[in-house]
């Protein structure tokens, strides 16, 4: 998709695989079974985390990159 000119934020947990296969925009998630979730949080906190992930993804697609780049969401609570 990137090759076709569609900047794509990859939200995934195994970021080393993503970097190795050359995905340019990577947003690390907290678990394989829940890329945009975190069941250890209460419902509201989980939605807040999800929102921050998506926002970071939007930042990533709006950022110029030249090689696999990781866009983490910081661990501290907002």
């Amino acid at each position: 998709m990137e090759r076709a000119g569609i900047p794509t934020a990859l939200l995934c947990n195994l970021t080393s695989i993503a970097e190795r296969v050359g995905a340019p925009r990577i947003v690390p998630t907290r678990g394989i079974p829940y890329p945009t979730g975190d069941p250890s949080l209460g419902a509201e906190a989980e939605r807040a985390w999800r929102r921050r992930l998506v926002e970071r993804g939007l930042e990533a697609v709006a950022t110029a990159v030249h090689k696999p780049t990781v866009f983490p969401v910081d661990q501290e609570s907002e």
């Binding site: 080393s16 695989i17 190795r20 678990g31 394989i32």
Partner: protein
């Protein structure tokens, strides 16, 4: 202390384990469960009684033997009949026997037979064993006389309860079958070495890190009867404990990349190490490790496993996995962590190179280590012949066909064909 109550014998030394091997050359159903002159006879009603559980409305057993025009589909697990004495004597700790380390004394083995559970459970990926034809040599169960357990769940029973009942029943039945050979003269007596003592030097100490799938119900592995936690730290056990069923499969994912209970009982890497024990290496132990589902825990577990190996004084390590590409990451991280600590490592990888074999082979290769064994290409297609009997189900949905039909399948669907524990003879070579 008496071995038959399940407690380990105290003879004051790490004397290892003695396997009394009874070869099964022929099988039958009959009035009494018995073993004589290489023939194992099973009483259907007695087997059904052993398997009985409120979660199961009905169970039935039948034999499928090597060479039969038979296909077993929806294979859930396979167990080798073993016992340490009447009533089990401690076998399958945490299930049949009390949850205590075993791996000492004597264990009777009915070699050439297996209890195979087959049938529909949701979340199970389709798994096929052919007893004849080109796929037969690709599965360990293609070469064993299989007592196939088929079942009907009780109405309203939760699938977790059904699966648990099948697991407990299969283990109990496996122990019961082996009991029939307790008084028989063994065909072979195999002395398995104990762990090398601290003073033993000279030969390199090689250990096996055995990664276990730990993704919760239907995708888990049991150690001493307890589900190995996905964030548990790796632990060291005596390889001989595996012989007594300390590790039992509870996972229903990728069939070719499964480690059935039978294969844990006959851990191929341990067997290969034992074959060279005292010759050019010492078989120094087994490290059991979870395969966590997130990157942070994968890193911690892998780093810790490497430290554990260093602390235990291992000179080299062979790493195995269970599962697909996700599990490759666990192996790669461990290989790299071990190499960083100066411990050479080898890992057994299955390749996912596409049907024509030209795709990139390994989902997550190591970055520092290089020594990888290939257990074959997951995607390579096989042509399976039509069969006269099908057990475990009527259809093979992944092939869009009836279970009795001839059809094509990727090697991925044949049970344990890419054996991550190294049972198989498959590998990949470059074609012209």
């Amino acid at each position: 202390m008496d071995a038959s109550n399940g407690a380990p014998t105290r003879d004051g030394a790490d004397t290892g384990l003695t396997r009394l091997v009874h070869t099964v050359r022929a099988v039958a159903l009959g009035e009494r469960t018995a073993y004589a002159d290489g023939t194992l006879t099973v009483s259907g009603p007695e087997a059904a009684a052993v398997l009985a559980d409120p979660a199961l409305a009905e169970v039935r057993v039948s034999w499928a033997s090597p060479g039969d025009p038979a296909r077993i589909v929806k294979v859930l697990d396979a167990v080798e009949p073993r016992t340490k004495g009447p009533g089990g004597g401690g076998i399958f700790p945490g299930f049949v026997g009390p949850a205590l380390p075993q791996g000492r004394g004597v264990t009777h083995v009915l070699r050439g037979a297996a209890v195979v559970v087959a049938g529909f459970v949701p979340r199970a990926q389709e798994a096929v064993v052919d007893m004849s034809g080109p796929a037969a040599p690709l599965s360990p169960m293609g070469a064993t006389h299989n007592l196939v357990v088929e079942f009907t769940p009780a109405p309203g029973a939760a699938w977790e309860a059904v699966y648990e009942a099948l697991r407990k029943g299969a283990l109990a039945l496996a122990a019961r079958l082996a009991e029939a050979a307790l008084d028989a003269e063994p065909d072979a007596v195999e002395e398995l070495p104990g762990l090398p003592g601290p003073g033993e030097r000279g030969l390199p100490r090689v250990a096996a890190i055995t990664n276990l799938q730990t993704q919760g119900t239907f995708k888990e592995v049991f150690v001493y009867g307890r589900s190995f936690g996905s964030t548990a730290l790796p632990t060291l056990i005596d390889p001989n404990d595996l012989d007594d069923g300390a590790v039992v499969s509870g996972q229903l994912g990728h069939p070719s990349l499964k480690n059935p209970t039978w294969v844990f009982q006959n851990h191929p890497v341990v067997a290969a190490l034992r074959a060279r024990h005292g010759v050019d290496l010492l078989c120094a132990g087994v490290v059991l490790s979870p395969e966590p589902v997130d990157a942070a825990n994968k890193e911690l577990v892998s780093a810790h496993a490497a430290r554990l190996c260093k602390a235990a004084g291992f000179d080299a390590v062979i790493v195995t996995k269970e599962g697909g590409g996700n599990a490759d990451a666990d192996m790669a991280l461990k290989m790299d962590a071990l190499e960083e600590l100066g411990i050479p490592t080898v890992a057994l990888y299955a390749e996912m190179a596409g049907a024509d074999g030209t795709g990139p082979s390994i989902v997550v290769p190591p970055t520092k280590a290089t020594a990888m064994v290939s257990t074959g290409n997951y995607d390579e297609r096989l042509s399976l012949p039509a069969m006269e009997r099908a057990l475990g189900g009527d259809r093979v949905d992944v092939a869009g066909a009836a279970a009795l039909d001839a059809f094509e399948l990727p090697t991925a669907v044949v049970y344990a064909s890419l054996s991550p524990l190294g049972w198989g003879h498959l590998t990949c070579r470059e074609a012209s």
